[in-house]
């Protein structure tokens, strides 16, 4: 049901602008909505980060993916169980760029004979997540060709590398194919794996289907209907130069459907699990060095008027009563 409602929502986000533009509401979907979306995205994103930054970390809770630093002859893992800022930095670099913790993903299976649980390595989530994220980044960079004039050199490079196979005309982008493969896997995993489907909610299906909608409308525009790219750039440039105007030439309605889906993504972003983009930098399990045995972690929300009370002081308070009750004490009277 969750998947079905998400699908309907995405479908509505395609059909509404498609029909709306036909009724002459191009400026609403082409100019007003993008501005609203970008403002909600930037303000919402910042507020969410500030909100997280204001929350104290009560305990030292890094995940310990390896041997911690202890005695000098014991080999330790500086990146998986960092003990200082340098280690945390490396852990974050590997986490953000290589999804290192996803690489450790395992799958659980009940054995055929008897109730035996088997764990095995499961790299497919890591691989397809990595494919999807890098393709998405590349597509974002490529899209700067519509928002910057003249087109900067790095965007040309991205464009050249991405279409280096020169298949078809307009030349096919490898990232367009790979992002569909990546998203397809991430969706299929939620639909066909019973264990994952059980914990999958609408907020998991919706962003996946929304992204698929964006990719499919994009592919449709480029390879099927072949929209007027100059008119699209005129519209985009109007938005980024803050002099928005509708282009003289007519634009295919699929452009507005694509744009509306992207706006929906931007608006939805700060309120959703997609905030992992910023949240990964504020995860105590990732950014706190494992120093719980070397340094005292003071919970920031502790009441400063309550002083530490050692065992020695406790024994001093109750020594007589403890001796009376026959409890062992460290210091006799």
């Amino acid at each position: 049901m969750a998947a079905f409602y998400s699908f309907l929502a995405v479908l509505a986000l395609i059909v509404i602008p498609w029909l709306g533009v036909g009724m002459g509401m191009g400026a609403l979907f082409g100019i007003v909505l993008p501005y609203i979306a970008i403002i909600i995205f930037l303000v919402g994103f910042t507020m969410r980060i500030v909100d997280w930054a204001k929350s104290p970390i009560p305990f030292c809770i890094p995940t310990t993916g390896g041997q911690q630093k202890s005695l000098p002859w014991i080999k330790f893992s500086p990146w998986d169980n960092p003990y200082d800022k340098k280690g945390v930095f490396m852990r974050m670099v590997l986490e953000v760029l290589c999804f290192r913790s996803l690489f450790r993903n395992t799958s659980v299976k009940l054995q055929q004979e008897g109730p035996k649980v088997g764990y095995s390595s499961e790299k497919s989530l890591w691989l397809f997540a990595l494919i999807f994220h890098y393709c998405f980044l590349l597509i974002l960079v490529r899209h700067l060709r519509f928002f910057m004039a003249p087109v900067p050199y790095p965007v040309h490079i991205a464009e050249f590398m991405d279409s280096i196979l020169q298949i078809g005309l307009p030349v096919m982008y490898q990232s367009d194919v790979l992002i569909l493969v990546g998203l397809g896997f991430l969706l299929a995993r939620r639909v066909f794996d019973g264990k994952v489907r059980y914990i999958t909610l609408m907020q998991d299906y919706f962003p996946l289907l929304l992204l698929l909608g964006i990719v499919i409308t994009g592919v449709w525009m480029r390879y099927v209907v072949k929209v007027d790219v100059i008119a699209v750039k005129e519209l985009a440039m109007g938005i980024v130069t803050l002099h928005p105007h509708m282009p003289k030439a007519a634009i295919d309605p699929s452009v507005y459907a694509h744009l509306t889906l992207v706006c929906a993504l931007f608006i939805y972003f700060p309120f959703s699990k997609l905030m992992h983009m910023g949240g990964v930098f504020l995860s105590p399990t990732r950014v706190v060095p494992n120093m719980s045995r070397r340094a005292m972690w003071v919970n920031p929300w502790n009441d400063p008027s309550i002083k530490p009370h050692s065992y020695a002081a406790y024994e001093d308070d109750f020594r007589e009563k403890m001796i009376e009750a026959g409890l062992p004490v460290e210091k006799k009277a």
């Binding site: 970008i38 930037l42 994103f45 910042t46 980060i49 500030v50 930054a53 204001k54 929350s55 104290p56 970390i57 700067l144 060709r145 519509f146 928002f147 910057m148 004039a149 003249p150 087109v151 900067p152 965007v155 040309h156 464009e159 050249f160 020169q166 078809g168 005309l169 307009p170 209907v225 072949k226 929209v227 007027d228 790219v229 100059i230 008119a231 750039k233 005129e234 440039m237 109007g238 980024v240 130069t241 803050l242 030439a249 007519a250 295919d252 910023g278 930098f281 504020l282 920031p300």
Partner: protein, 138 residues
């Protein structure tokens, strides 16, 4: 706010990144003006269709001419044209730099037509001159 010395620069970096296109384009006027032929009114297909799908047409022309030897294109009005980029298209649009490149450069497209084709029908040598080769890249 905790860890403000890391988080505030991070937020500023994020917001700055979002405004890169706005700052980059500031003060530039965006205009695309391909030079249109003065003596011709109609292209082989209607203008809007040419704007959207000329690459598809050229691709078909190439394949049909090279593979099937079919060199005559008949449009919806029944007019006949030779399927040739250099001799048909570029006889009306003789200057690649003033016509093709105006739009292609604007949106960062670098088609590989001129890897093989002459830049103009008047060109004597069959290979694009070295000085122009850079613009004909992809």
């Amino acid at each position: 706010m905790y860890n403000a010395k890391y988080i505030i620069p991070g937020i500023i970096f994020f917001l700055a990144l979002a405004f890169v296109p706005v700052v980059y384009n500031m003060g530039h006027k965006f205009e695309v003006t391909p030079e249109l032929p003065r003596d011709q009114k109609d292209c082989v297909l209607p203008t809007q269709e040419m704007r959207d799908k000329h690459m598809q047409l050229l691709n078909e022309w190439r394949n049909e001419a090279v593979r099937d030897g079919s060199r005559i294109f008949v449009n919806a009005k029944g007019q006949k044209y030779v399927k040739s980029l250099t001799n048909t298209c570029m006889s009306c649009h003789p200057d690649k730099a003033k016509f093709c490149d105006r739009c292609h450069d604007t949106v960062g497209v670098a088609p590989y037509c001129w890897d093989c084709h002459n830049l103009t029908p008047d060109q004597k040598s069959p290979i694009p001159p070295v000085a122009q080769a850079a613009t004909g890249g992809h």
